[in-house]
Amino acid sequence: MGELRHLINITDLSVKELDHLMTVADDIIAHPEKYQDACAHKKLATLFFEPSTRTRLSFTAAMMELGGNVLGFASADTSSSKKGESVSDTIIMAGCYADIIAMRHPKEGAPVVGAVKSSVPIINAGDGGHFHPTQTLTDLMTIHRKKGEIGNFTVGLCGDLKYGRTVHSLIEALLRYKGIKYYLIAPEELRLPGYIREMLDEAGVEWHEVESLDEAIPELDILYMTRIQQERFPSWEEYEKLKDSFILTRAMLKPAKEDMIIMHPLPRVNEIDVDVDDDPRACYFYQALMGKYIRMALILYLLGIK
């Protein structure tokens, strides 16, 4: 592999590259022993300027299963950035010790700054409310495994569609595939931003906006749940009034298709009742597992390891 590649946004990867990553991840799942030393003597630096235990664990597990090592920091408190070191300097320094970097930063665009000076590949592990491409990779991998293909299904996206970057990135990624219908399930206050609705229109796909889960559930092949934060609402009363329309309970699953899958980027608060967890359609923990495999494939790809 010649040119240094980074992953800042999901659209940095072509559909062909996404296919490749999912094929490799499938192979890792089928033959884990083939990959157990693939990254021997390689180091991943996890530079987490803001804490995210889940994402960091996933990257760490991924590198360890490839036989590589992991170093880094878990929050700005324990890093030099507290002393005022710039992102750029931290990245240059880390490039002296590691072969690849996964960075998370509270400021939007921080990995773009990092990539300018980096001598090793950078993976954006979340930059504020902006991008989180490995979450989207995780979502795509889950759909690929559970549905056999990415395309020809109806997906319902529920919750905070206004601020939820996970949903925005997922839509952006799915728009490159064919035969997908969208149900956008959100209260008026948290509906999808205009520019993404425009993207849906421009792509000429079928999409519907509804204001309760019940309306959409019977139609769906995939239900993607996200959290609604109380502070997004003008008052507690309004939150209380609306929240139940966007909380998934086992009873609500009655009219759902047998093979519908329920996804959630985690952490979950109360938007999915725990009694849904035992339903075979629930696959949010499976999703976390897929997150590890697709990150393994990504690390191999960016390091140019076959």
């Binding site: 992102v87 750029s88 509270p106 400021k107 939007e108 665009g109 700054v113 504020g128 902006h130």
Partner: protein, 141 residues
């Protein structure tokens, strides 16, 4: 175009009336070591009123900045009292260190020593996105 008084330099014509002084500062002409004249609210057949800036020296001129400010501005290049070139600068593909990102969550709000960069999204609307955080800037007002 009246290029009187200019030996070698530029006449910036068709500046939106009232914007001449702002452009003068943006182009750093207040610090230029040469004769500069601003003509405000000159009558124009095309626009009713316009501002004009005359610069009597061939100092380096930021065409990107001019194209970003207003696509109607014409730059007349003068050499030895003769008009040698007329340029209408287009909005640049990448706008560097002209505008600042207003998004408080953008990395540019904390990282030192990085340029403010914007990528042109729509030529007609002259809209730009911050290359770091993707915040949209429509029209430059």
């Amino acid at each position: 175009m009246n290029i009187d008084g200019i030996n070698t330099g530029y006449v910036l014509d068709h500046i939106k009336a009232g914007k001449g002084f702002e452009l003068y500062h943006l182009l750093g002409l207040d610090k230029a070591d040469c004769t500069v004249a601003i003509i405000q609210r000159a009558s124009s057949a095309k626009y009713g009123m316009k501002d004009i800036i005359k610069i009597d020296a061939d100092i380096p001129l930021d065409y990107d900045l001019i194209g970003y400010i207003d696509t109607n501005i014409t730059v007349n290049v003068v050499k030895d009292r003769k008009l040698v070139k007329k340029v209408r600068p287009a909005p640049p593909e990448i706008l560097t260190d002209v505008i600042e990102c207003r998004n408080p969550r953008c990395i540019t709000s904390v990282e030192r020593g990085i340029p403010q960069k914007f990528r042109l999204i729509d030529k007609e609307a002259r809209s730009y996105r911050c290359v770091y955080c993707d915040t949209l800037y429509r029209e430059n007002k």
